[in-house]
Amino acid sequence: MGNEPEHNEVRAGAAPPEQTSAASPAGPSAAPGTLGAAPAVRIQGLWKKFGEQIAVHGIDLTLPAGRFIGLVGPNGAGKTTTLSMVTGLLRPDSGVVEIGGHDVWGDPVAVKSRIGVLPEGLRLFERLSGRELLAYMGRLRGLPGDEVDKRAGQLLDVLDLAGSQHKLVVDYSTGMRKKIGLAAALLHNPEILFLDEPFEGVDPVSAQTIRGVLERYTASGATVIFSSHVMELVESLCDWVAVMAGGRIRADGPLAEVRGAAPTLQDAFLELVGANDRGAGQSLDWLGGGGAR
């Protein structure tokens, strides 16, 4: 990632001219958590139904800028649907989403250049090599070619992908895919990064690499919003948490506040979701002991 001046200069180059003048104080150079700064994300009355099933059940949520934010919940809680709608990849049935004060559906120009996305369950252009993919995405974002190649080289180095940069993404492992996806999401130096399950199926070494990059990125004042169902991970990474279950937000706020009196976030979460009394009962009494058959 560049230093601060380069940061701003490139953003001005990357964004269409009409947007530069409208840039809000929520830029990455603004101090994190400044009073009066627009929140990173503001969601109001967000609904999404798939047939009969309600995936997202009228969410209201405000996420502050400059934080490392975790969206946690069990499988099927609506995390992916919510993140897809927030990033403009899925149209909500109703509701308002604002990113940095700009409406996602009303002002896509302002929003799309400010966010980086790593969705879950969608493919990449897998028949490109890692380096070609970054070169393609950077140029699509309107960055100058030399700058794209420079940044791509640095990202590939930092993410430990330099050795596989000429391999097709289709031959990458899960961890490598997540890393190249992260690189593609960071290439245009977004203010807010949305990551859907960035650590799912990732080996510990890659996970540590991803973690390091994300921590460096938030330290510069940028916002990371990621979803996960691994509580320990969220607890160790995030300073702000939103708990989702059954398509609703059950709790949100600073980590300590959501955790409350519970010893760990895991316990607090199970209490919120109401699933902490489901032990392995007597029905598996034959299991273990090393007896035959």
Binding site: G88, L89, R91, P108, E126, L140
Partner: protein
């Protein structure tokens, strides 16, 4: 689904009789496969009927040829083709038979030697072995002359069928690494192309053999195949009938040795497979030296324009080469576009207007542009914010198509004029071709946005289940509109002909160029704002399946 029950059922019953277990497993898999849907049952039953009818026809044909001088060569050749079919079958249908996949058995406590016997017996169940048995029997009946030959014939039939089945198993086992790898799956997608090419070859061969005394052509080939197992066993039947017992013994021995070697090879690769890590834990070995120079990029890439256009064109061109689905569709369009004029030129009664198949088929490549991206379209969607972005994206894709299509259409038009003629019609055909190409690019851009559908990346299907009607509607509707768009030019052509103004026909070339460009640009302009409005809907449509 069925595999789970397999894994549970196999070890429990393994103790009594392995062969019986595998036979039952195969029958269960067949039955469960049929139970999945009525359509599958119908498809299976009709394939059985077609297979049996084909076999019956071939057998009757062979028996009718009994006594023909060249029937020996034909029977031997038929056996050779059958064997070849068995050898390549696992390449094209790697997932066709689940019991063919030895990796599913790796976790079971089985030894290779008894396993091979059981698997060989299991492989004999199915429509393929039955058809093979019928064909080989037919060949032997056509050849066998005398009781000795009949006796050898029975042995030969058994040997040939066993060699065929063992060959398919051995090849599948030896190449399972390849077949389960990405390259193998890519190959399977392209298999349709090979089958189409093979069908053409068969077609041409059949025409040649259909001529009087056509069978004589086979003799040189038959002479070679008579010494190649397992066709050598069929050769042995003929040799026995002719009293050449030495040749007969040699032929049978060759086939038997081949069977033994195949079983040995099969057992070795099975052992290797079951005692080494499976492909999912191995990193794909890749030749990436070609792409290593990629960052610098060769001279031609530098010629691509900057901005959004160049990268999109480069990506599309790379996909045309690297993505099996894109490659397949490009190859089909280029091949089929050429086929009509060539066939018509060979037959000698063709028309220069068959050259229109080139712009028609290449123009269709513009349809369902975003479906070709699969769900990776989100990467495109996340960078499109204005109609201008969308216009540039679509224009770049159209330019890529034009980059290939315009020279190709030129080539086909010139070729048609040269080989079919007359040259006097060249300018109007060329002009109308370019107009048609432009119209299809324009309507293709619009339908790509209004009727996107997803293309499953694996298998031979080009439309995800449930989206077939969208696909047909967009293709047929688009082609119809594209043709209608060309109506004014067609009208002008006809009028010029009717009015006898032949000296003015050249005007159709500049008009066609203008008209095609105009139609394409208009289509792109209409499609661009709709693309921006429908980005999430397009993404949802192309992510299905």
């Amino acid at each position: 689904m069925s595999t789970e029950s397999t894994a549970v059922a196999a070890p429990r019953a393994a103790a009594p009789n392995l062969t019986a277990v595998f036979v039952r497993l195969k029958l269960t898999l067949l039955r469960n496969g049929l139970r999945q849907s009525a359509g599958r049952t119908v498809a299976y039953v009709s394939s059985v009927i077609v297979g049996l009818l084909f076999a019956a026809g071939a057998v009757l044909g062979l028996i009718a040829l009994r006594g023909n001088v060249h029937v020996g060569a034909l029977a031997v050749l038929l056996t050779g083709i059958l064997t070849l079919g068995w050898a390549v079958m696992p390449m094209f249908f790697p997932t066709g038979d689940e019991t063919l996949d030895p990796t599913r058995l790796v976790m079971l406590p089985l030894r290779p030697r008894p396993l091979i016997g059981s698997l060989l017996v299991t492989s004999l169940i199915g429509i393929g072995p039955v058809v093979t048995l019928a064909l080989v029997t037919g060949a032997v009946v056509a050849l066998a002359d005398g009781p000795a030959a009949a006796l050898v014939g029975v042995l030969a039939v058994v040997l040939v069928v066993l060699v065929c089945v063992a060959l398919a198993r051995a090849v599948a086992t030896a190449s399972v690494r390849l077949l389960t790898s990405r390259r193998g799956r890519d190959l399977a997608v392209l298999s349709g192309l090979f089958i189409a090419l093979g069908a053409q070859a068969v077609n041409i061969a059949a025409q040649k053999l259909g001529r009087p005394d056509g069978l004589a052509v086979l003799e040189p080939l038959g002479d070679v195949l008579r010494w190649l197992p397992p066709a050598s066993a069929i050769g042995a039947v003929e040799a026995t009938g002719q009293g050449a017992y030495g040749r007969a013994v040699a032929g049978m021995a060759l086939a038997a040795v081949a069977l033994a070697l195949l079983l040995f090879w099969w057992q070795r690769s099975l052992t290797a497979l079951m005692t080494s890590p499976d492909s999912s834990t191995l990193q794909a070995v890749e030749k990436d030296s070609a792409r290593r120079s990629g960052s610098g990029e060769g001279g031609l890439v530098r010629l691509l324009p900057g901005g959004r256009t160049g990268p999109v064109m480069l990506r599309t061109l790379r996909y045309a080469w690297r993505d099996p689905k894109s490659k397949m569709s490009w190859a089909t369009a280029l091949g089929a576009g050429l086929l009509a004029p060539i066939v018509s030129s060979v037959q000698g009664n063709g028309s220069i207007y068959t050259a229109f198949s080139a712009p028609a088929l290449l123009g269709l490549q513009m349809y369902n542009q975003f479906g070709q991206d699969t769900s990776a379209f989100w990467m495109v969607a996340s960078t499109i914010a204005t109609p201008r972005d969308a216009y540039q994206e679509l224009r770049a894709r159209a330019c890529t198509l034009a980059l290939v299509a315009v020279p190709y259409v030129t080539l086909v038009s010139v070729g048609a004029a040269a080989f079919i003629g007359p040259w006097s019609d060249f300018l109007q055909v060329y002009g109308l071709s370019l107009a048609l190409l432009g119209a299809l690019i324009g309507t293709g851009a619009v339908t790509s946005v209004i009727f996107p559908y997803s293309i499953p990346s694996e298998g031979n299907k080009n439309v995800a289940p449930g989206q077939g009607s969208i696909a047909w509607f967009s293709l047929f509707g688009g082609v119809l509109v594209g043709a209608l768009l060309c109506a004014p030019l067609l009208g002008l052509t006809i009028w010029l002909h009717v009015a006898g103004l032949h000296h003015l026909l050249w005007i159709l070339l500049p008009l066609g160029v203008l008209y095609g460009t105009g139609a394409a640009v208009l289509g792109l302009r209409l499609a661009a704002p709709r693309t921006v409005r429908r980005l999430p809907e397009i993404l949802a449509a192309v992510s299905k399946g």
